[in-house]
Symmetry: C2
Subunit: 486 residues, 2 copies
Amino acid sequence: MTVEDRAPELLEQATAVAGTEPLRETSERTGESDRLDGENRLKSDFVRRVRDALDEGERDQVYDLVEPLHPADIADLFELLDGDERPLLARAITDLLSADVIAELNDHVREALVEDLPAEDIALIAEQLETDDAVAMLEDLDEEDQQAVLAELDPEDRAAIESALSFPEESAGRIMSRDFIAAPEFMRVGDLIDYLRRDHDLPTEFWEVFVVDQGHHPVGTCALSWILRAPRDVALADVMKRDQTLIPVAMDQEEVALRFQKYALISAAVVDDAGRLVGQITVDDIVHIIQEEAGEDALLLSGAGDGDINEPLPATIRTRLWWLFINLGTAILASGVVAAFEGTITRLVTLAVLMPIVTGMGGNAATQTMTVTVRALATNQLTSSNTWRMIGREWWIASANGLGLGLLMAIGCQVVYGDWWLSFVLLLAMILNSLNAGLSGVLIPVTLNRMRIDPAVTSTVFVTTMTDTLGFFFFLGLADLFKLSA
Amino acid sequence: MTVEDRAPELLEQATAVAGTEPLRETSERTGESDRLDGENRLKSDFVRRVRDALDEGERDQVYDLVEPLHPADIADLFELLDGDERPLLARAITDLLSADVIAELNDHVREALVEDLPAEDIALIAEQLETDDAVAMLEDLDEEDQQAVLAELDPEDRAAIESALSFPEESAGRIMSRDFIAAPEFMRVGDLIDYLRRDHDLPTEFWEVFVVDQGHHPVGTCALSWILRAPRDVALADVMKRDQTLIPVAMDQEEVALRFQKYALISAAVVDDAGRLVGQITVDDIVHIIQEEAGEDALLLSGAGDGDINEPLPATIRTRLWWLFINLGTAILASGVVAAFEGTITRLVTLAVLMPIVTGMGGNAATQTMTVTVRALATNQLTSSNTWRMIGREWWIASANGLGLGLLMAIGCQVVYGDWWLSFVLLLAMILNSLNAGLSGVLIPVTLNRMRIDPAVTSTVFVTTMTDTLGFFFFLGLADLFKLSA
């Protein structure tokens, strides 16, 4: 049977594929519309219209407003509404609350929505989702609800989800898809194309075909563009790329993201401990992770946890309060140093005026260095091969900063207070604290990283302790040494 | 002529495609090797071997060491070496310094390497690069060198690069590729496949085919997997997805990245002002941008500029010093407040001991809120539709923080100093400064964003000013009001 003979049957299939997305104005997403602003965010005016319709219980009107939106925008709409409006919206838009929308929802928003649904409904949604999205939905549920939903699933889906849940959170096994195309290396291009045309139960998204040996170990990868361009009678082994990046199933998602980025991957084969192909990860699932992991450092350094504005308030307060509590310890330590020099301050109260400048400058300089170091570690730019160069760099920067700003402040101090010794002490303290800041800013994150502690989570406390405590000590200690007084 | 008749000719082409990457051990990049560590970084031991060989002038040995590396790892190697070792490595590895390596190099490292090369050599490399990578290489050069290189290029490449350079930096026009597959909507799947098999001069990377009307306006997109699965006699118009995200050529790359992420795109059509298809952007070029833009906020908030550890030292010192200088202004303002209360401190020197706790806690709390706000703005999670909810959230968090930590410190203060009024003043000042920190942390970035000023660049200075100046003012002002003295 040639391809042409099967045309009617396949046409139906092809239309089904094309029909998975509703027809919509192609120009809609190039720029502004009455729903989206120039930066592709839902207009507040549109959100208000939805809100008003929800308040008035006009479900049909809500449905009509939401219908033209892309699933990603429907997900955004849920996030923009208040917590109590979300279930109302879910009920009003009925079938528009598709698996695509659920997959795009923020974790916390999805969790709250899903908790309201009975197990059968969750199971229905889970069956439509890709395994990784279904897992993301189910992992939020508590053990009991999770079991109830799994019991409702058909055996195949249940097995896939249970297998995914057996891997640690944030590992490749959790985010991989179990739907992929694997082909034996001796298969010819033409046979592969015929197989793809024939089989109705293929994954919806694939960009590369994985070539495997008889033991199901991946031996190469064929981009679809190569398959399309190769003659039908060439064996896959002759068009495949043998150089491939294999992802072990237990690899942390941050590592996976770094490899996708480093080797510019579109998809990658996931292998089990025995090196057998068990899944694929595609770049569209990784893009979220890259964004999250890269943005995470800023949040972690500031002690704001995952900084999700949809996180329930008590959880956020707990995270932030804990961090501030730890930092309070740092502040008390620093003020202990000041307390030790109460006598010195009593002799010259101007010291209390100038001391925040020394610690403030040190804190800012250390934050710069620390942030650069943490980012360089996270992106694998800083390794043990160039740590000494980095330390040297920061030493020079700190010297320049300390000398430049110290002199500036010393001159200012001399003009205002006309006290040579005070100005000299200020200069010296600023130079010392600048060097302290620069070195702490590099050495603390690097050391934490060597100890396998995430430097983004822990560096700030230690670095602040160094610049505050030593900053006060340098300034007040020198003032005491030189017996400054009014 | 059927496809099979042309097999020999096409086989040659197919092999050429597959041959673009050298054959290498497939297991190499699954885990550790003698060159890469478990986190896929070059081992310091390996880097040392390269260094030693470079020092001893053993070029052949260097070549043999570097040869098995992936281009992305060769680029990493350049970055790990010191500035003066890099030209030596470039000379030693000769042909291994491929366009792929150049494309992967850090901007500053590439700039320094390229500056050493004569215009003809740069032109030779530029001709092998994709347009976007060639542009990245040439945009670093000064005007005169750029013209010299452009003059060496063949007219077609020159036109493409000049056209790219005519778009603003960091716009879609700079990062798009001018090589893409466009097909008319009435074309049949079989004809497209034959065309792809026939044409030798196609882009190396494509994942989707753009379907255009007679005016070259994109009307739909076909994923290659749909083309592979559709019967040969179906028209592209019947398998294409009409719903597509079009990227205007002037769009900022950060916006482009957000759309790729939001709509999980693999590639997207770039259109000019008249809506005509002029290029494509593929996700592998976007992944770097997503990572950079998301990681950038941490660096900008800390005033470390783009925080690149390969930036020349004087440029880094300039950026950092400028930021510290501005922040010194903040610190001087804050110490001006302290100076105004010198008399109060003289009466009770313990105030000088406790005042850093009030400002320190405020600064930390404000940094948390500010970082969350800046990230939420950058990811389009915070829009005018939910700004009030965000402010309300932060108000509650700040109240909880202020009350919790304030009470804790007040009790501690009472235990240590046994002064009810002092403890009360400390409690009150911490509550006030916590609320001040929470509100400043939201309102300042949101306001800057409304004014179209990047909140990541400017928020810290204003927020620190608020928490330091008002923190001292609340504490010392209340102490003065209640006439505290020893």
